[in-house]
Amino acid sequence: MSTAQLDRPVPPVAKPSGGVLHRVSRLRQTSPGRLQLILAGLVALGLLTGLVAGLTTASAGAGTADLGNRAQPLLVEAETIYSALADADTTAAQAFLAGGLEPTELTRRYEDDLDRASTALTSAARRTPETGRSADAIRQLSADVSRYAALVASARANNRQGLPVGAAYLSSASTLSRESLQPQAQVLFQAAQDEVDDGYRAARSSWWTALLVLLLLALLAALVLAQRHLSRSTRRTFNVPLVVATAVTLVLALGAGGVLISQRAHLTEADTEGSWPVALLAETRIAALRERGDEALTLAARSGESALEADFDETTGRLDELLADAAEIMPDGTAAGDSVRSATQGHRNYVSAHDAVRKLDNGGDYDGAVALAIGSRTSKTFTGVTDDIGRALQNRKDVFSDEIGAAGRGLGPLTVLGPLLALLVCGLAVAGIRARLEEYR
């Protein structure tokens, strides 16, 4: 429609023989020709600006939505998978340590863990493209989770019949969990973290935004120059349609600028107050569960301090750093900050309980060590730590959702309004200049 408007004044002048450059240079020599060129330039710039405004807001909107609906939830699910599997492994080992028929609450906890892992796996699969690192990890995880569940089921069936081979089944399951399931979950977690980073890049759509800013400036400049030319070459000081077009362009620039600036501010908030603490806390919870698993498996292996205890010490060091980092970015007085501080204190208590466990075991009191490790006091201390981390995590997840929701606000309307306003500018430019052109007829 707009190209038709553009073309209509041209055909009487056009000659099939001449080249484009030749025709343009001929147009420049006459006053109506110059007006036609100005009109063509304004319309072209206007259309381009409308197109880019639409694309920029569409890209920023899609990026923001993808971040909020896919990448970040994928990260959260990857953490759920990892921590559920780690907790299942620990719980199974603790149930084994308890001796006799496994305690009901541990069985229930193990089943909950597996349920959580399977549910998270299903929805993570939905959020992942068919090929790539995450998809491979999810496929491997799905296959191994059912193998894992089968091994633990065999262990329990044998244990119920009093057959010691149950212990061997459990250790096969644990090996599968530690050597395949948890590493794959970690791969998924890292892939999800990369996707979140990519998601922020896509949501910011920096190249499109820069292009839009340039085009808006160029369109404004072109409108101002065209009006100066008209006021010099005619006796009229103001060309009303072009003045209105300039105003509309300014409105478009201010509107787009406002929405995009606010989107970026909320994205930054979502990143620093949401995604980053969520990733940090997720890693913290994983490290805490790893400690507990090391402790239970060391006791189950009954061979004194081994590589697992060395892993415990290493994990404790890392966990302390993670908690310190978390305390730094989540200040005192905030809900998340308080949870982190409480987790830090709880973790200190847990590590001293663990040291007591090791001391008992190393001193030959295996039964005492087991009783202390899986006893209600130590369990409560440890659960307190993971619950605190979980609370802080939930708090930061909420912050992320709020910020990402705010970031997406206004992008949808702008995707429609931007191109419409640009078309309006084109129409006004045509109206304004055609009136002058008709004076030459």
Binding site: G100, L151, S154, P164, V165, A168, S171, R302, G364
Partner: protein, 318 residues
Amino acid sequence: MRARVALAAVAALTVLAAAGCSGDSSPLPGRPSESAAPAPTNPAAPVDTSCNPRASLKPAGALPAPGRMPADSYMAVIQKRGRLVLGTSQDTLLFSSRNPFSGKVEGFDVDMGRQIAAAIFGDPDKIQIKVIAYDKRVSSAVDGSVDLVADTMTANCARWKDVNFSSIYYEAGQKVLVSSASAAKSIDDLGGKKVCAAKGSTSFDNIGKVAAKPIPVARAGFGDCLVAFQQNEVDAISTDDTILIGLAAQDPYAKVVGPRYTEEPYGMAMSNAHPEFTRFVNAVLAKNRANGTWKSTYERWLGDFGAAPQPPVAQYRD
């Protein structure tokens, strides 16, 4: 299990030599040159016949009273510590396995250790069970992380180079466990089939020496072999008949077949830095053979498989 006459010892030695001796594959402290040597699991490795693996150190006189170990002896060190550290496994049913009901590790091997603890302390409960991997049995005794290893461990010449063995407390021999539907009658019918044994055990090495060429598969322990067998990852398990009986008891679809194709005399291993401890352990074993304790221990754990045989006759090298 078998009454042994002096003449038979020579024959037994030859069988054992044919079966071959091999130390554990774990690296030993202070012997770096050993680890650079070719893998001991190589079936072509020269057979070590340099000793009589059944002959241990002779007990020195009467046993000291419990709780009154001679000063400067290793028994006094153990007494001062307040517990004997026994290295064993927790998945060898009947010999040393974890009772799933009580969580305690128990069996024939564990009772052997408890009898030593009783001789030192007058209390068989003053014992700490430390579970060690099969391929760590020699190194754990050498580095002193356990006082005594009682873990269905075959006394052989290669191991004698690193540790002292007690006199023989049990005579076993290698057989094979197959699916109850299998037509195999012995290990010779399992050419090209996967046969599992614990990593670092003599059983594993022996599978590689069978002429029919079964494929040896290593797992961390025999319980893990049973898992592999039940998951159809291996076709058979081959190790000492005693261990196989314990495995077959846990799986009604498994049976133990064939004649013993090796001889596996079990001894308790300990560091050779304290010969007085070996002599002490041998004195306890000699006493328990004589007073019927050995027989009642056998009946307690292995009585379901027939009456107790005569205990193995102790042989000494000095």
